[in-house]
């Protein structure tokens, strides 16, 4: 039985990874803009960024997906299920990534900025070469953890019909009446992918640590 179920459900791995990866990427980039905006000297920019982050985080992911997939076509903005899922998860990821970057930035001692200033480095150079590399290293474990969280959230995309792991598992469960087995297979796939992400991020973290000599 499992020999038939596994390939049937594993078909969804590609889309699960695609939706998770694309959303993490877009969310990560928007998150950078957001974290920049929250530190802006202009009050209104700060206000909007903070409002955006809070509004995004207080609404459940499934509500976001439904708003985008079912709500937007009412105004002639027709999206495919995959597009809707990626847009929805990118919006959600951007708010969480912004928070992760913020905590990364907070961990950099003020002395680093002062030292760069004393050396005569411009603000942009300081951010690029002094702050970001250090902040990224601090934020990496949190990013990996969030990536795993997003991977699990991506299961929600099945509710709007994206053919990822959970979608195929549900289909198999209905066709074969092997509900338990189908979802055990799906669960195992998620756990395996999570473990791979965890191991890779641990490796990268260690490499980065070695590079600056704090192994």
């Amino acid at each position: 039985m499992i020999t038939q179920l596994l390939p049937a459900i594993a078909q969804g791995v590609g889309l699960t990874l695609y939706v998770t990866g694309a959303s993490l990427l877009f969310g990560g980039v928007i998150g950078l803009v957001l974290v920049g905006a929250t530190r802006s000297p202009i009050g209104i920019v700060r206000g909007i960024a903070t409002l955006y982050i809070n509004v995004v985080r207080v609404i459940p992911p499934i509500t976001w997906l439904f708003l985008i997939y079912f709500g937007l076509p009412q105004y002639a903005l027709r999206l495919s299920t995959i597009q809707a899922a990626i847009i929805g998860f990118s919006i959600i990821a951007s708010a969480f990534m912004a928070e992760i970057y913020r905590s990364g930035l907070l961990s950099i001692p003020e002395g680093q900025r002062e030292a760069a200033h004393a050396l005569g480095l411009s603000t942009l150079t300081t951010v690029r070469h002094i702050i970001t590399p250090q902040a990224f290293r601090v934020a990496l474990p949190a990013i990996a953890t969030y990536g795993i969280g997003l991977l699990k959230d991506s299961a929600l995309a099945s509710t709007i019909g994206v053919r990822e792991i959970t979608y195929y598992a549900q289909q198999s469960a209905e066709q074969t009446h092997e509900g338990l087995l189908s979802f055990i297979v799906a669960g195992a796939l998620y756990i395996v992918i999570s473990l791979v992400i965890a191991v890779v991020s641990r490796r990268v973290d260690l490499t980065l640590r070695k590079k600056i000599g704090v192994a």
Partner: protein, 220 residues
Amino acid sequence: MDILTQWLGWLPNLAPGLLISLQLTGLALLFGFPLGLLLAVMAAAKFAPLQWISFLVVEIGRGLPALVLLYLLYFSLPDAGVTLTSLTTAIIALSWNTGAYASEYFRAGLAAVPLGQKEAALTSGLRGWTGFRIVILPQALRISTPPLAGLAVLVFQGSALAFVIAVPELMSKGFEIASITFEYLSVYLLTAVIYGSITLVFLALVRVLEQRLGRHLQRN
């Protein structure tokens, strides 16, 4: 103001859904938190099989997406001869999920209590369970409470998942109205506003709780 009158008209239909969402959240927390504490204590037990059980329960509860856990129970329990309503199934799945996450916070809280406290309890003649209950646990709970309160907020948001197994909660009610009126955007906007405002209230309470618990740290 068109949209507001529309929303006011839908509210009576959504209210029972919200009540079920809150009920689901409350019960998941009621069962999930004690389960989490139990799992955390089991993880620290000297008897190895207890550790394994705790590990397995926690890793399944945290490792699987909540949605998969929900489907897993929903599709497999009837085959095992257990017929439950979809609400009960959702309560079990969410409690499991909550318990798994909560156990990590409890474990961190227990680990943060200095070893000297246990030694001090022992020298005061408070051994085993008594020492744990009177000396260790209260200190651990104070440390674990803020993250647990944050978890409670996430559980409320997670209760929206019960929609997929047809629990008549807020999201389902919204879906119902949307498929009758075709006003998808407006309906989901309203559900988003309801979820958002209740979450904000929760978050405000969490902040008050954090301040109260931190009072002993603020001198003068």
